[in-house]
C-alpha cells in the first residue's frame, strides 16, 4: 500500500444533524482529508443498502453513513 494512501470515502449525511455538523466543522475550520464526497439525504434512514453497494462498486474504499 502506498505510503500516503488516503482512502476515498463516500458519505451520506442526514440533513438535520450530520450535514449541519459538517458545515459547522467548516465554520470552525477543522481540517480533514480532502477525499470525502458527501451526499445529503433528508434522513440517514434514506440510505438504501443499494447505495452502499453502488458506492463500493464505483470504487470508493468506504461508505460512511451518519445521522
Amino acid at each position: 500500500m502506498a505510503e500516503n494512501y488516503e482512502p476515498k470515502i463516500l458519505a451520506f449525511l442526514c440533513n438535520w444533524c450530520a450535514y449541519a455538523g459538517a458545515d459547522l466543522a467548516g465554520v470552525s475550520r477543522f481540517q480533514y482529508p480532502p477525499t470525502l464526497r458527501v451526499i445529503r439525504t433528508m434522513c440517514s434512514g434514506r440510505v438504501d443498502p443499494l447505495y452502499i453497494a453502488e458506492g463500493l462498486v464505483n470504487g470508493y474504499d468506504g461508505v460512511f453513513v451518519s445521522g
Binding site: 465554520v27 475550520r29 477525499t35 439525504t41 438504501d48 453502488e54
Partner: protein, 1371 residues
C-alpha cells in the same frame, strides 16, 4: 454591519487587532472587537463592539485616535499606525518626542499601574516607517490661496490641513530656516534636526511653499499679502520674546534670555556659555537651556526656581534627566539683583521663598522669607521665566485685537480675528503652549478658512464634545503590568554632544508596551476590517437609530443575570484560584466549541481533574451572604448534567461530588436522570461547605464541611464548580421601572397565579426568567402563553399587516432536455483564495448538459441575484447549480431567485464547496480544487434528474377540540373562543373544574374556588364554546387542519370536524395502601386533610409524609407540587393555631423558585422538617386513639417517635389520560404514562402529531399557574395553524405506486409519523396509501419497500445514484 451583505466569512475578524475577553466563553477565551457571538449564532453575521470615545482621544487637543494607532503598533502595522496618526497630525515623529502627552494623564491604565507610554509608541511608528511615504488624500485643488505667517507647528499644521482640503498655501518665515520653535526652541538632544526636516517635507510634498527670511513687517504687511491674491492670512508667529526678570543689572554682559540662547545655538551651532551658569525658571525652556549649557561645556549649571519640584511646569522626565546630567536645582529661591563687576555678571543675589496660598493658577504662590538673602557665584545668567509674542510686526495691522498678555484675540472656535479674512493660532494666540495645541489650532483654522471661502457659518456644529458618564471597557480584572522604560543614552556619553538622549523602543518593546492598552472603547477604529471585508458590509460611521414602532402589545423576555461569586471572594476564592469556576464557565469547558474544545482540563495547569466538587445554591436560597432567598430552580439539574458529561469526557475516571441541601429534580424525567447519575457513581453530599482553602503548589482546594452525621471532614478536590443561581438583570429591572411594571420582593416581574404571564400593566406580558427562575421548557411555554395573551388583545387585527409576494408564472420544463447553468462563487477569498475558481468554471463547462457557466464574487449578493434571474431567462436554463456555501443556509435564498426567474424552486441544486471544502482543506489548495470540481460534477449529475415539485396545500378547518374540562382545558377553550375560533370542550365528568376543585388556594394565596367558579361561568356561557359533559373521545382520524373525532355521550355518538386538538386530560393523586391509609380514619391524602381537621378540631399534632408511593419503583418521578402543597397546608394549620405541632417528613424539600419563601416561612413558624431516606421510611402505628410515627432523624442520629392526631400523605400524581385518547391521536406517552411532547426542551406543548397540543397535568404534574401558562401556550401554537386558510405540505414526500405495491405493510410499520396507511382497493386487496400531510420526507419507507414501489421525491434513486457515480473520480 450591513447584515444583508455579511457572508460570515470571518476575514474581518482575522485582521482585527483588538483582543477582548469572550463573554460567550465566560472570559475563558478571547475574541476580537469585531466578532460573531458564537459559532452557531443565527444570524451568523459579525458585529462590532464599540462604546464611547476613549479618554486618550478625548484628552488629545488634536483628537488623534490613540487607541487605533497603539493597536496598530501592537501588531507591527506601523504604516497603518501612521495613517491613523496623520489623519489628525502631520508631524508624528516630532510629537512622538516632544508632546506633553495629556493622553497619558487621561489613560485609564493609571488606575491599574502606570499609564501607557503613548508618546513613545507614536515615535516607534514614525521610526519604523517613513511618514513621507504615507499617501495623503487631498481634495481637488481650489483656486483660493492662503498666506501663513510662521512655519512653526501651527503654521505647518494649517498648511497641511488646507492642502488636504485642496487649498494652496504659502508659508512666510522670518528666520532663515523653517520650523519655528521646533527648530529654535527645542535642542537637538530632544529633537534631531533630520526628523524635523523630514517631517517638514511631508507638508512641502503637498505643494506648500515655505519662504524663509520673509518676516512680516514694513516690507510685507497683511494688506500687501491680500493684494498679492491671498484670500486669507493665518498668523502663527509664535512667542519668541523672552520675558525679563525685572531685577537690577539685567542688561549687562553675561545675561542672556533663554529663548535667545537656544535660537542662536540652533541656527549657528554655537553660543557663548559661561563656566558657572544660573538659569532662572522652572519650565521646559529652563531645562532645555540648562541641558544645552552643560553639553556646551559649562562647569556648573544651576536652576533657580521660586517654588518646589511639585509646582515645576517642566516635564518630569526632563527634570529627572537634567539631574542625571549633573544640573542642580535650587528650589524656593528667587533672584533679587544681578551683581555686576566691570560691566559683567559677577554673581546673583537671591532670596529664599516659602509657599503661601494657592494663586489663580491653582499653584501655591511663593512669598519671600525676610532676611534669607544669599548670593550665588556665577558668570552667566539665563532667564527663562516665560515668552511672549513679538507683536512689533503687527503694529500696523488695523482690526487686530490684542489681549493684556500680548496675544491676538480670536473667536475660540473658528480662530478668526476681527480682521476680515485673518486667522491666528499657536503661541501667538494662546501664549506659550504646547506643540500639539498648535497643531490642533492649525487643523481648526483650516476648517474655518474653508468655511470662510465657502461662505458657510464658521462656528456651527463645532462645539467641543463632552461625555457625561462615558461607558468604557472595565479594567477591574486587568493584571498589573508596569510600563516599559524607554532606553536612554548613557549619561557619560552625553557630554559635548547633542545626540538624542531617548533612544526609542525596539519593535519588541513597543509591541509589548502597546499590549498594555486597555482598549477602553473596545473597537479601536483602525478600520482594517473595512479593507478586509470584500462585500463591503462594515460601516464604522453607522449610528444608532431611534425608531418608534406602533405596537398593540409588548412581551418582556429580557432574562436574568447569573450570580457573581466575586461578591463572596473571601469564602469561594473564585477570583484568586483558577480552579474555582462557575458552573456556566464549566459548561464552556465541556463544550466542543469551547476554549478547550471540550477537553476536560483545569485552566491552571492543563491537567485533567480527577476529583470535582459542585457546590449547590451559590447565590440561591441564601439570605445570609446575599439577598437571594429564592431557589434558582435549574442548578440541581444542570449540575447533574455536568457530572454526567464530565464523566464522559474524562479519560482516567472522574469522581464527582455534589454538595447540596436538597436535590431538586422536579421536572419531567429529571428524577430518572438523577437516579441514573447515582448509578454512574456521582456522590451526593448533604452538607454545606463552610470553608474553602487552597492547597499550596497543586492549587487544589480543600473543602471543610460537617457531614450529615456530624463529623468534621476536610476533603481535597482538583476543581470546584460553583452552581451559581439566577438574579434579576439590572437592565431588566430598569426597563420594568421605565414601563411602570410592578416587581416582586426579589425584583422579578410580579404576576398572579391565575394569570401567569400578565404584568400589572395592561397589554404588557412577560415570559421566561424575568418573571422568576425557571428552566427552558417552562420559559418556552410562557413565551407561547404570552403570545397567546397578546394575540387575544389583537385578535381583530390578525393578518392585517401581511404582505404577499408575487412571483411570475412558472415555466413548464417537463419534457425539455436539461439546460444546466453553473454559478461558481468565490465568496470573496473564502473559496477563491483557496480553490482555483476559474478552473472549476472551465471544468463545469465540460460537464454533460451544462450550457452556461459563470464566476461570481458573491453569488448571494443582491446584484448577482438580479443578474442571475436575467441569465436564467436569457439562456433558457431549466436547472441551476450554485457552487458556493451550504444549502442549509442559502438554498432558500436561491430558490426564491428561481421563482423570480419563473422556475420551480426544486430545479435548483447546491454544491457545498466552502463549508465542506475550502474551509476544511485550506492548506491543500490543489486537492481542494479537485474536490470542488467533483462536488460540482456530483451536483450537475444530480440536477439533470431534478423534477419540479409542487407545494400541496391542505385546507384548514378552524374549529378546535379541547379534551378535558379542568383548568387547563377551560383556559384553552376560553382563549380559543375569545380569539374567534369555535371550540368544543369535551369533559368526561358531569362537572367542569377537574382536580383544581379540591384546592382552596395557591401558594401565593389566590382563592382557587372563586377563580374556578368564574372560569366555569365564562366557559359555559360563551357562545363560541360547545361544552360536552359526560362525553368521551372514542376515536379520531385525519391530520393537521383536518381532524374528525368521534365523541360518545351516553349512547350517542357524534363526529366533530376540527383543525386542531388540545389534550388536557389532567392528572390525579394516586391511592395508597401505605401508612394505614384506608384503615385508620385519621390518615388522609392530599386535600382530604381539610375535612379531617374539621372532624378533629382539637388535634394537637399533625404529621405530613411526603413522597408516598412517589420517587420509588411504582412512580419513579417527582410529582413537583406536593412539597409546596403540604407546606401550604401546614402553614394554614399553624395560622389557625400556632400551638399545633406540625411535622413534615420528607426526602428533599422541593419548593423550587420563589416557593422557597413558603418553606422559609414554615420553618419560622415552627413547622418541623425531618428528612428520611427510602431505605428508612417512617413507620406508622395506631396508638390508642392516636397514631404513632417512628422516624430516624439523621441530624440527631436517633430514632424518634411522634405521637400525632392526624396524618396526611402526599401521594404521587399520575396522568388521567386514557389510552383511547392517546391512541386516537397517535400520541406517544413516556414510561410514566404522561403524554410526550415533540421536544422536551424546545417544543414543550406540541405533540409528535402535528396539530395536536398538550397542556396541564396530562403532560406532567404541575401547579395551577404552570397549567394555565401551558394551556395558553397550546392555544398560541394551535392558532399558528388555525389562522391560515390552508397549510402548505412540504413537497419532499414519499409517493407510493399502488400498481407496484403488494400490500405487505412494511412501509406502514416503518413510518414513524403514521403518514402511510393501508387502504382497501377495489379488486386489489390492501394497498399502501400516502398521507402526505403527515410525511416528514425521511425516506425510510422507500428503503423498506421490497417492491421499489415508493419514490422519495427530490431524493429519488436516479438522483442519488447519479451523485454517487459522479463523485467516484477521487484521485
Amino acid at each position: 454591519m450591513d447584515l444583508s451583505k455579511c457572508t460570515s466569512c470571518g476575514d474581518c475578524e482575522a485582521v482585527c487587532p483588538v483582543e477582548l475577553e469572550s463573554g460567550y466563553e465566560e472570559g475563558l477565551a478571547t475574541r476580537k472587537a469585531i466578532y460573531k457571538k458564537y459559532t452557531q449564532a443565527i444570524p451568523g453575521t459579525y458585529c462590532i463592539e464599540k462604546t464611547d470615545t476613549a479618554p486618550c482621544k478625548l484628552a488629545c487637543p488634536a483628537g488623534i485616535n490613540v487607541q487605533g494607532y497603539v493597536q496598530m503598533v501592537k501588531v507591527g502595522n506601523y504604516k497603518r499606525a501612521l495613517e491613523i496618526i496623520m489623519e489628525d497630525l502631520p508631524l508624528p515623529g516630532i510629537l512622538g518626542r516632544v508632546c506633553p502627552h495629556g493622553c497619558e494623564d487621561a489613560c485609564r491604565r493609571c488606575s491599574v499601574d502606570d499609564p501607557l507610554a503613548i508618546r513613545d509608541l507614536k515615535r516607534l511608528a514614525a521610526d519604523r516607517f517613513d511618514p513621507r511615504e504615507i499617501e495623503i488624500q487631498c481634495d481637488p485643488e481650489r483656486d483660493e490661496k492662503v498666506a501663513i505667517i510662521g512655519s512653526g507647528p501651527a503654521g505647518l499644521s494649517t498648511a497641511y490641513f488646507l492642502a488636504r482640503r485642496g487649498i494652496k498655501s504659502t508659508i512666510f518665515e522670518s528666520l532663515p530656516e523653517p520650523g519655528g520653535m521646533l527648530r529654535v526652541g527645542i535642542p537637538e538632544h530632544r529633537l534631531p534636526r533630520e526628523i524635523l526636516n523630514k517631517e517638514i517635507e511631508i507638508i512641502t510634498n503637498l505643494g506648500v511653499e515655505i519662504k524663509t527670511n520673509s518676516p512680516l513687517g514694513p516690507d510685507l504687511s497683511i494688506d500687501d499679502l491680500k493684494n498679492q491674491g491671498y484670500k486669507a492670512v493665518y498668523l502663527a508667529i509664535g512667542a519668541h520674546k523672552g520675558i525679563e526678570l525685572g531685577v537690577p543689572g539685567e542688561n549687562v554682559n553675561g545675561v542672556r534670555q533663554g529663548v535667545d540662547f537656544l535660537r542662536e545655538l540652533s541656527l549657528t551651532g554655537k553660543t557663548e556659555v559661561g563656566k558657572k551658569v544660573v538659569i532662572i525658571g522652572g519650565g521646559n525652556v529652563a531645562i532645555d537651556v540648562a541641558r544645552s549649557a552643560i553639553r556646551m561645556g559649562a562647569e556648573e549649571v544651576t536652576i533657580v526656581y521660586r517654588r518646589t519640584r511639585t509646582e515645576m511646569p517642566a516635564f518630569d522626565e526632563e527634570i529627572e534627566a537634567s539631574l542625571d546630567e549633573g544640573i542642580r536645582i535650587n528650589y524656593l529661591a528667587a533672584p533679587q539683583e544681578i551683581v555686576v563687576e566691570d560691566g559683567r555678571v559677577a554673581g546673583l543675589r537671591c532670596i529664599k521663598m516659602e509657599l503661601g496660598d494657592a494663586d489663580s493658577s491653582g499653584r501655591r504662590s511663593p512669598i519671600p522669607v525676610p532676611g534669607s538673602e544669599f548670593e550665588l557665584d556665577v558668570d552667566q545668567i539665563i532667564p527663562a521665566i516665560g515668552q511672549k509674542p513679538d507683536l512689533s510686526c503687527l503694529e500696523e495691522a488695523a482690526g487686530l485685537e490684542f489681549s493684556r498678555w500680548g496675544t491676538i484675540e480670536v473667536n475660540s472656535i473658528s480662530y478668526a480675528t476681527d480682521y476680515e479674512g485673518v486667522f491666528a493660532g499657536g503661541d501667538v494666540q494662546t501664549g506659550p503652549w504646547t506643540v500639539i495645541g498648535a497643531v490642533a489650532s492649525g487643523k481648526e483654522a483650516a476648517e474655518s478658512i474653508q468655511r470662510y471661502f465657502d461662505g458657510v457659518d464658521m462656528v456651527e456644529g463645532r462645539e467641543p464634545v463632552t461625555l457625561d458618564d462615558p461607558v468604557y471597557r472595565p479594567y477591574d480584572k486587568e493584571p498589573v503590568k508596569h510600563r516599559l522604560q524607554m532606553p536612554e543614552l548613557a549619561v557619560e556619553k552625553r557630554a559635548g554632544n547633542f545626540d538624542q538622549v531617548e533612544l526609542g523602543y525596539t519593535e519588541e518593546q513597543g509591541q509589548e508596551e502597546a499590549g498594555r492598552c486597555l482598549n477602553c472603547s473596545y473597537c479601536c477604529d483602525c478600520e482594517l476590517c473595512v479593507e478586509a471585508c470584500l462585500p463591503g458590509a462594515v460601516n464604522h460611521r453607522d449610528q444608532a437609530l431611534e425608531k418608534e414602532i406602533d405596537v398593540g402589545a409588548v412581551i418582556l423576555t429580557s432574562g436574568t443575570d447569573v450570580f457573581d461569586p466575586d461578591k463572596l471572594e473571601e469564602f469561594y476564592l473564585y477570583k484568586s484560584n483558577p480552579n474555582v469556576m462557575t458552573s456556566i464557565e464549566f459548561e464552556r469547558i465541556l463544550s466542543a466549541t469551547g476554549p478547550t474544545s471540550g477537553h476536560l482540563v483545569r485552566l491552571s495547569d492543563e491537567k485533567e481533574p480527577k476529583k470535582i466538587a459542585w457546590l449547590q445554591c451559590v447565590g440561591s436560597r441564601d439570605q445570609n451572604q446575599c439577598d437571594n432567598g429564592y431557589c434558582s430552580s435549574v442548578c440541581c439539574m444542570y449540575a447533574i448534567k455536568e457530572t454526567v458529561i464530565a464523566q464522559e469526557h474524562s479519560h482516567n475516571g472522574l469522581e464527582c461530588s455534589i454538595f447540596n441541601m436538597d436535590i431538586r429534580t422536579f421536572g419531567k424525567d429529571y428524577e430518572r436522570y438523577y437516579e441514573r447519575s447515582k448509578e454512574q457513581g456521582v456522590r451526593y453530599v448533604q452538607a454545606r461547605v463552610h470553608t474553602i482553602s487552597e492547597v499550596p503548589e497543586s492549587r487544589n482546594l480543600n473543602l471543610h464541611y460537617v457531614s450529615e452525621a456530624g463529623e468534621i471532614i476536610e476533603e481535597e478536590f482538583d476543581l470546584v464548580v460553583l452552581s451559581v443561581g439566577m438574579e434579576p438583570a439590572k437592565s431588566a429591572v430598569e426597563l420594568a421601572g421605565d414601563l411602570d411594571i410592578e416587581l416582586n420582593q426579589y425584583n422579578f416581574v410580579k404576576t398572579e397565579d391565575v394569570s401567569p404571564v400578565t404584568t400589572s400593566k395592561p397589554g404588557i406580558y412577560v415570559a421566561g426568567v424575568i418573571q422568576g427562575p425557571k428552566d427552558i421548557p417552562h420559559s418556552i411555554m410562557e413565551a407561547s402563553a404570552a403570545a397567546c395573551s397578546a394575540g387575544s388583545d389583537l385578535a381583530a387585527a390578525r393578518g392585517s399587516l401581511v404582505k404577499e409576494r408575487i412571483f411570475p408564472e412558472e415555466i413548464n420544463v417537463v419534457g425539455q432536455e436539461p439546460r444546466i447553468g453553473v454559478f461558481v462563487c468565490n465568496c470573496g477569498i473564502n473559496i477563491g483564495g483557496i480553490a482555483d475558481v476559474p478552473s472549476i468554471v472551465e471544468y463545469a463547462k465540460s460537464l454533460p448538459n451544462v450550457v452556461y457557466t459563470e464566476e461570481n464574487l458573491f453569488s448571494c449578493s443582491q446584484d448577482t441575484q438580479e443578474k442571475m434571474v436575467e441569465t436564467i431567462k436569457e439562456q433558457k436554463l431549466n436547472r441551476v447549480v450554485v457552487a458556493a456555501c451550504s444549502p442549509i443556509t442559502h438554498e432558500p435564498l436561491f430558490q426564491e431567485t428561481m421563482k423570480d426567474a419563473g422556475l420551480n424552486p426544486f430545479l435548483f441544486e447546491m454544491a457545498n464547496i466552502r463549508n465542506q471544502c475550502t474551509w476544511v482543506h485550506s492548506s491543500e489548495k490543489d486537492k481542494a480544487t479537485e474536490k470542488a470540481k467533483d462536488l460540482v460534477k456530483m451536483s450537475v449529475a444530480r440536477s439533470a434528474f431534478l423534477e419540479p415539485l409542487d407545494y400541496l396545500t391542505v385546507g384548514v378547518n378552524n374549529p378546535v377540540l379541547v379534551v378535558g374540562g379542568g383548568v387547563s382545558g377551560m383556559t384553552a377553550a376560553l382563549n380559543f373562543a375569545e380569539q374567534g375560533f369555535a371550540t368544543t370542550l369535551v369533559e368526561k365528568g358531569m362537572e367542569l373544574g377537574g382536580s383544581a376543585r379540591q384546592i382552596k388556594k395557591t401558594w401565593k394565596g389566590a382563592d382557587v374556588g372563586s377563580y374556578l367558579d368564574e372560569l366555569i361561568g365564562q366557559v359555559e356561557n360563551h357562545t363560541g364554546i360547545n361544552v360536552m359533559k359526560g362525553a368521551e373521545v372514542v376515536n379520531a382520524k385525519g391530520f393537521v387542519g383536518n381532524f374528525e373525532t368521534e365523541v360518545k355521550i351516553g349512547d350517542l355518538k357524534k363526529t366533530i370536524r376540527h383543525g386542531a386538538t388540545v389534550v388536557a386530560t389532567g392528572g390525579q393523586a394516586t391511592e395508597t395502601g401505605e401508612h394505614l391509609y384506608g384503615q385508620n380514619p385519621r390518615v388522609t391524602r392530599w386535600h382530604d386533610l381539610e375535612q379531617n381537621l374539621e372532624k378533629y378540631p382539637d388535634a394537637e399534632s399533625v404529621v405530613f409524609i411526603q413522597c408516598v408511593g412517589s420517587r420509588d419503583e411504582s412512580h419513579p418521578y417527582c410529582s413537583k407540587i406536593c412539597c409546596t402543597a403540604s407546606i401550604n397546608q401546614a402553614l394554614e394549620i399553624k395560622e389557625k393555631n400556632p400551638e399545633t405541632n406540625v411535622f413534615i417528613l420528607h426526602r428533599d424539600i422541593r419548593t423550587y423558585g420563589e416557593r422557597e419563601s413558603v418553606y422559609q416561612k414554615a420553618r419560622e413558624k415552627g413547622v418541623v422538617f425531618i428528612k428520611y431516606s427510602p431505605e428508612r421510611k417512617p413507620v406508622v402505628t395506631e396508638a390508642g386513639d392516636k397514631l404513632e410515627v417512628k422516624i430516624f432523624d439523621p441530624v440527631i442520629q436517633r430514632e424518634m417517635v411522634i405521637e400525632t392526631d392526624l396524618l396526611n400523605l402526599a401521594t404521587a400524581i399520575e396522568s388521567s389520560a386514557n389510552e383511547t385518547v392517546t391512541s386516537a391521536y397517535k400520541l406517544p406517552v413516556n414510561a410514566d404514562k404522561f403524554v410526550m411532547e415533540a421536544h422536551a426542551k424546545l417544543r414543550p406543548v406540541d405533540c409528535a402529531t402535528d396539530g395536536v397540543y398538550i397542556c396541564g397535568m396530562a403532560h406532567y404534574p404541575k401547579p395551577l399557574d404552570e397549567s394555565i401558562a401551558q394551556a395558553q401556550a397550546a392555544v398560541s401554537r394551535a392558532i399558528n395553524v388555525l389562522s391560515q386558510q390552508s397549510v402548505a405540505v412540504e413537497p419532499i414526500v414519499s409517493q407510493i405506486d399502488q400498481e407496484l405495491c403488494i400490500g405487505c405493510g412494511l412501509c406502514v410499520e416503518s413510518c414513524s409519523f403514521s403518514a402511510i396507511e393501508p387502504e382497501k382497493v377495489e379488486g386489489k386487496g390492501i394497498r399502501a396509501k400516502n398521507i402526505s400531510a403527515l410525511c416528514k420526507g425521511c425516506g425510510v419507507c422507500a428503503v423498506a419497500c421490497p417492491q421499489q414501489a415508493i419514490t422519495m421525491k427530490h431524493f429519488n434513486n436516479d438522483q442519488i445514484i447519479a451523485s454517487i457515480r459522479a463523485g467516484k473520480s477521487v484521485a
